[in-house]
Subunit: 486 residues, 2 copies
C-alpha cells in the first residue's frame, strides 16, 4: 500500500516525519471514531426509549465537575494520611466523623447530622509477634490478630496442625487437634477470573476457623492471609466466635510466613509455634453514622441513599477500604450542589460506622428508617476498593433491574454500564426488603486483595482518576434515581 | 422480610452470626450465579456458532497456567529493577536484548535469533536544570529534555511566551516570538473519558512544538507534561524537527512547574527562564529485535506475531512502558510450551527495538518480512501500559473484524471481550497492508498517563494480576489465530 510504503520509507530520526504522520493518523481516526460513537449512541438511545437527552446532558455535567475537580482527591489524601486508620471505637474514628461532618457542611446540604450507634471497641494493643521453633532455632512469622480475637495472655506455645479444607479438619480426631494451633492454609485460587470469588472461597477460614478449631479442642488458629500476593504483609479481617465453644486466639499469617511454616512442618511435624497477642475487647462505645441531606423538591418523603463506611481496620490508612467510598459519596453531594442539581426526591449521603466488624451503623440506620416508616427508593454503597468502575451490582425485582439496564445505556459511554446481580454493600444488607433496590458500585478487582485489610492499604496505591470515574458513575446513578424514583 | 429481620436482630459482636450469615448468603448466590453464567455461556456459544468447546478448554488451560504462574512477574521485576531504563542505543538496551534472548531460550522455542537494526543513539548527558528569575529571585523548575532534542550548549536564558493553542501561536507576530522560549501550556483535558484521547489531543505540542516555535524564531520550547497529575515529575517523549528550520532545545516541564511558571508570567511577563540541557545525538548504533519462533505444525509458512517493545525512555524503569508488554509476549511463548500447545501456524514472538523514537525495529521487521515475501496472518502488540485488559483494538477488513467479534465471545468470560477499532501498536504500523489484521491489547487507561515516560514508571506501580490477565488474553487470541488463521 502506498500509504504504508510512504511511512516505512520516510522514517528518519532527525526529521521525524514518521511520528508526525502517526499522530495525524491517530487523530484523524479519533475524530471519525467519535463521530460514529455519537451516531451509535443516538441510535441506541432512540431504540431504548431513554426518556430524553436531558439525562445525557445532566450526566455529562456531573462527570465534568467530578473529573475536573481536585477536592475529592484532597479529601482522600487528608482522610488517609492525616487521620489514617480509623478502627471503630478509636480516637481516629471520632476524628473522621468530625472531619466528614465539617467537610460536608462546606458543601451546604439542607441538613447534616450524626446518628448515634453503640459500637464494639476492640484494640490490638502492643504489636503481636510470632515465631516457630525447630531444630533448636527460631524463625519469625509475620502475623496480624484478626479483628475481635482474644489475646494470648502472655506467650502461647503449642504444636501445629495444618489443614487446607474443612474435610481435612473433620477427618482429624479430637486427640490429633487438642491443645494445638490449627493452621488454615488454603490459598486464594489465582485461576478464578473474579478475584472477589476467590476471596469468598477462602474467607470462610478466617470467618469460621476459630470456631471449628475450638470445637476440636485447639487452643489457637492461624489463617493464611487472603491475598494473591506472595509477600510479608498479613491481612486482618472479621472473625467469629460461637458461644458454645471456647474463644481461642486467631491471627492471619502473611503468605510468605504461611509458606515458610508449611515447609518447616513438612520437615518437622512436631515443631512448636509461639504467639504473643495483646488484643482485647473493651466495652462498647457510642459512635455515629454521618448523614447529610438534600431535601427532595417534589417528593421529599422518598429517599435515595448513597454511602460508604467511614471505619477501617487498624492497619494501613484505610485509603482503599473504604476511604475511596467515603470521598466518592461526599463528592456526590458536592457535585449536586456545584451543578445546581435539585433532586426531586431526597438524597441522603450516609457514612456508616463499623462496617468491618458487624455493620452496626448499617443496622442502626435501617432500624431508624423502619421506625420512622420511611420510603426508600434505593440504597447505594461504594465499598469495592475505589478502582476503575465497571458498573453496578444490583439486588432488586426483575422489573426494577430492567429499569437499571435501561439507565445503564446512559453510563456505557463512561465505561460504567455493566449491570450485575448480587450487590456487595454489607451496610445495605439490613435494608433488604425496605429499599426497592440495593446497589453497590462494581469495580475492577485485580488490585483489591493485594492491599485489602493490610498495612499496604495506603493513599499511594490509589489512582485519583479511577476514584473520580467511580464518583461520576455514582453521581449519575443517584441523579437518575432522584429524578425518576422506582 | 423474615430473612432480613433475622439478620438485623441477631447482630452481636461476641457471637457474630451476622458475619457468618453474610458469608453463606454471598456464597450461595455465587454458586447460583456461576451456574447461570455457565448456561448463558453455553447458549451464547451455540448461537454464535463458535466452532467447538475445544476452544474454550484451550483458552481456560492457557489462562490457568498464566494466572497461577510466577515467572512473568519475576521477569518484570528483573527487567525493571535490575536492568531498568533501557533507552535505545544504551548499554542497558544491550543487556535487555541479551536477557530476553537467554530467558526465552529457556522456554525452548524452535528457534530464537536477533534481527539487526541500526538505531539512533541520543543521550541526555548530565541531568538538565532550569529556573526562572523574577524580581531578583530565582525559582527552580522540574524539567526533562524531550527525546532527540539538541542541548543548550551552556545556559540558555531568554524571555518566555506562553501559548495554549496553535491559533494563539499563529496570532503572534514573529517579532513577539523571536529570541524567546515558547511555553506550550495546554493541559490534557480531564473531562475526556478516554485518557488516551486526552493525551493525543495534547501531544501535538510535544511532537511539533519545537518546529512551530522555531519557525517563528524562538530559541527554545517548553512543553507542559502530558499527565493528569499535578506533581513535580516531568514526562519526556518523542519530538520532531524539520529540516527547514533551526533545531531548538525542547523540554517537558512538570505540571506543577508549568503552573508555577504560568502564574509568575501573569505577574511579570518579562521574566526570564534559564535552561541547561546537555543532551546530544550520537552516531547511530547497531542494535536488535529479539525474535523467538514456534514453527507451525500445519502451515509453517503462515505467521502470527505477538510482540512489544524492549526499549524505553531513559527515566524510571520502563516497567509499564513497555516492560509489561515484553514479559507478556514472552509469557505467550512460555504457556504455549507449558500447555503443550503446538500451533498450526508459526508463532513469532517479537521484541522490537526503538519503538519510542522512530519505530526502527518495527520498520526493519516489516522490511525483512516483505523482502522474504512472508504471509502474515496477524500482528499483535501489547503497549498500553499493562493495566487491566478490556479486549483488543483491531485494524482489519470488516469481514476479519467480524471474525474477531466471534472470537471475542470466548474472551468475554475473562473480561477481555471488547473489540475496538484503531489499533495502537506503533511497531505494527509498518505492517499495515502486509498482515491481514493488526491488533493491540486494549487496557484500562486510568493510570497510564500518571507514570508514562517519567521517573514514576517503576515496578511498584504495576499489579501482577493485571499483567497476567493481559497475558492470558494475548495467549488466547494468539492461539486462536494460530489455529484458524484469517
Amino acid at each position: 500500500m502506498a500509504g504504508s510504503r510512504l511511512i516505512i520509507q520516510q522514517v528518519v530520526w532527525d526529521n521525524n516525519e514518521f511520528m508526525n504522520k502517526l499522530f495525524k493518523f491517530f487523530r484523524q481516526h479519533t475524530f471519525s471514531f467519535v463521530f460514529s460513537a455519537v451516531i451509535t449512541l443516538m441510535i441506541t438511545s432512540a431504540t431504548a426509549q431513554v426518556r430524553d437527552t436531558a439525562d445525557s446532558l445532566m450526566i455529562r455535567k456531573l462527570y465534568d465537575v467530578v473529573l475536573s475537580g481536585e477536592e475529592m482527591d484532597a479529601n482522600l489524601r487528608y482522610l488517609s494520611r492525616h487521620i489514617g486508620a480509623r478502627m471503630t471505637g478509636s480516637e481516629q474514628a471520632k476524628q473522621a466523623v468530625d472531619w466528614a461532618r465539617s467537610t460536608m457542611s462546606q458543601y451546604r446540604p439542607d441538613s447534616i447530622y450524626l446518628q448515634p450507634v453503640m459500637v464494639p471497641h476492640w484494640v490490638r494493643g502492643a504489636k503481636e509477634s510470632a515465631w516457630f521453633t525447630t531444630g533448636g532455632s527460631s524463625v519469625k512469622l509475620d502475623l496480624s490478630a484478626l479483628g475481635g480475637s482474644v489475646g494470648t495472655g502472655g506467650t502461647l506455645t503449642a504444636r501445629v496442625v495444618e489443614v487446607r479444607s474443612w474435610a481435612e479438619l473433620s477427618s482429624l480426631s479430637d486427640e490429633q487437634v487438642r491443645g494445638k494451633v490449627v493452621f488454615f492454609n488454603r490459598a486464594m485460587d489465582a485461576r478464578e477470573v473474579e478475584t472477589f470469588k476467590a476471596y469468598l472461597a477462602a474467607a470462610d477460614q478466617r470467618a469460621q476457623g476459630a470456631i471449628a478449631a475450638s470445637k476440636k479442642g485447639a487452643i489457637g488458629a492461624l489463617i493464611r492471609s487472603l491475598t494473591l500476593a506472595k509477600d510479608d504483609y498479613p491481612h486482618t479481617g472479621a472473625m467469629s466466635y460461637d458461644a458454645s465453644v471456647a474463644k481461642i486466639p486467631a491471627a492471619a499469617l502473611s503468605t510468605n510466613s504461611a509458606d515458610k511454616l508449611s515447609e518447616a512442618l513438612k520437615k518437622d511435624p512436631k515443631l512448636q509455634v509461639s504467639l504473643k497477642m495483646n488484643c482485647i475487647q473493651l466495652p462498647d462505645v457510642l459512635s455515629y453514622n454521618v448523614i447529610a441531606e438534600l431535601r427532595g423538591a417534589i417528593h421529599p418523603e422518598e429517599f435515595v441513599t448513597v454511602g460508604a463506611h467511614i471505619d477501617t481496620w487498624d492497619v494501613g490508612e484505610g485509603a482503599s477500604d473504604d476511604g475511596t467510598g467515603v470521598v466518592q459519596a461526599m463528592e456526590v453531594l458536592r457535585v449536586f450542589k456545584a451543578t445546581g442539581l435539585k433532586p426531586a426526591r431526597t438524597l441522603r449521603v450516609i457514612l456508616y460506622m463499623n462496617e468491618e466488624a458487624g455493620a452496626h451503623g448499617g443496622v442502626k440506620y435501617a432500624e431508624q428508617a423502619k421506625a420512622r416508616n420511611e420510603y426508600h427508593v434505593a440504597a447505594l454503597e461504594s465499598d469495592a476498593g475505589g478502582f476503575s468502575p465497571r458498573g453496578f451490582r444490583i439486588e432488586a425485582s426483575p422489573e426494577v433491574v430492567a429499569r437499571f439496564k435501561e439507565w445503564a445505556l446512559l453510563l456505557a459511554p463512561y465505561k460504567a454500564g455493566d449491570v450485575q446481580s448480587q450487590q456487595r454493600g454489607v451496610d445495605l444488607v439490613p435494608m433488604k426488603g425496605m429499599a426497592k433496590a440495593l446497589l453497590s458500585l462494581d469495580c475492577d478487582d485485580s488490585r483489591l486483595f493485594y492491599i485489602h485489610h493490610s498495612a499496604l492499604d495506603t493513599y499511594d496505591k490509589i489512582n485519583p482518576r479511577e476514584v473520580a470515574m467511580g464518583a461520576g458513575a455514582m453521581a449519575a446513578m443517584t441523579a437518575l434515581l432522584c429524578k425518576y424514583g422506582l
